[in-house]
Subunit: 251 residues, 2 copies
């Protein structure tokens, strides 16, 4: 029983060092990648798709030349424990998936996969042993043809500096980078106790020049110092020059 260039035990040791522990998903993943590799013709430059973010991407990264960082492994989260290797140019390839019927013959694997008992009641050693004993028998394999729009290298276009944060970013993203346009995963300095007030849709900030034809989400207040203060733009559809032309010079 071997996985790629490794014995099963050697593979588990490589898994421990990269993934942190011998996750059952990586044990199964090892056999799955091995199966897929065995069906790929020699000399084909291939790429990979993982249909889950859990565990499986690490098996692909350990056993094939495809990594997330070199762009040859794509993770398309479909929630299925499955992966494909495919010819980078033609899209022809093989898909290996967990076969729900075959798993029934291995109770500890079935209990793990379908979450039939709480994690603390799982017998981890027995689970790894059943995955090893079953070897390639738990999985199905089929040929696939990857959609043409997923083939080929993604191009990022020109790089400039963001007008707000000043960092290099792909100028195709707009006048400011995606982080400054509201996609930041960080709390904004000075607003560090901010929490989402409700579970509503995520909203994006947009550079002024991209708002033409859209409705402003908030009213905007115009303050003319010493003279007036009030809602100037209410439920306003943005037009070219809206804010500049219609605002008194001293605002």
């Amino acid at each position: 029983m071997s996985i790629g260039q490794y014995s099963y035990e050697e593979y588990l040791s490589v898994v421990r060092s990269f993934h942190g522990y011998t996750a059952p998903g990586l044990a199964a993943g090892g056999f799955m990648v091995d199966l897929a590799l065995s069906r790929m013709p020699d000399g084909v430059l291939f790429e990979a798709v993982c249909e889950t973010r859990n565990c499986l991407p690490d098996a692909v990264q350990l056993l094939t030349p495809c990594t997330v960082g070199n762009g040859r492994l794509k993770i398309i989260n479909l929630g299925r424990f499955a992966l494909s290797l495919y010819d980078k140019h033609s899209g022809e390839g093989v898909r290996v998936y967990v076969d729900a019927q075959k798993v029934r013959a291995w109770p500890e694997v079935e209990a793990w996969l379908f979450k039939l008992k709480p994690k603390r009641e799982q017998d981890c050693q027995l689970l790894l042993e059943q995955i090893r004993q079953a070897g390639p028998e738990l999985y199905g394999i089929e040929t696939v043809l990857v959609q043409p729009q997923l083939l080929g290298k993604r191009r990022r276009g020109a790089i400039g500096c963001c007008n707000l944060c000043g960092e290099p970013y792909p100028i195709d993203d707009g006048a400011i980078c995606r982080a400054c346009a509201g996609k930041t995963p960080y709390l904004v300095p000075g607003a560090e106790h901010f929490e989402r007030p409700f579970d509503g849709p995520a909203l994006d900030a947009a550079p002024l020049r991209d708002t033409v034809g859209k409705t402003a989400l908030h009213d905007m207040t115009m303050i003319v110092p010493g003279k007036s203060k009030g809602a100037a733009f209410v439920n306003r559809v943005m037009k070219k020059g809206s804010l500049l032309e219609e605002t008194p010079e001293n605002c």
Copy 2:
């Protein structure tokens, strides 16, 4: 000049074996991860965010315990060459980014980062040498607080078998899995010459029970054998039982 437990040369050799070649992004990434690690307090259980899919995720995976498959590395594509390491529980951490100003002092690095010359005119050795010589000097570092909704483990809920493909999937996704609901990256067998007819919005198939209140995209044709054939549901808003109740028994 060292990167983590490695000398610069050793690190490049590990990069070659994992990533396939000594990409400049991984050379820079090595220094960036090293910088971030040096600012993390000892004993903190941390996770990572990469703000780009290019190269940097592999530096994180090689030099920290965070991988895509173990869920401790998240890739949030903001188009910036930057990463953060942060306390898994509190969200407090450090962010390391390429400092556009500092890069100006290193012409080959600047030309690479801002794509100032075609790839074939890059001097790859000089580029790697400048990245090595500059060491940590090319980067900025700042403290960050990661948004609370990104902290904590994602839970997948119960697992069932998809009513269409029969594979295990998270039943929270609906009556059928995401792949069967139209997210598949593969061409459908029997329709292998299918290509997207236009660059319009991506459309999803939906299980019948989830369509109540929605408008059907296509008219539907009713055929009563030997009697009639015609558009039965035109621009139709779906109601509970629509298709079953209003269709003659022999359809």
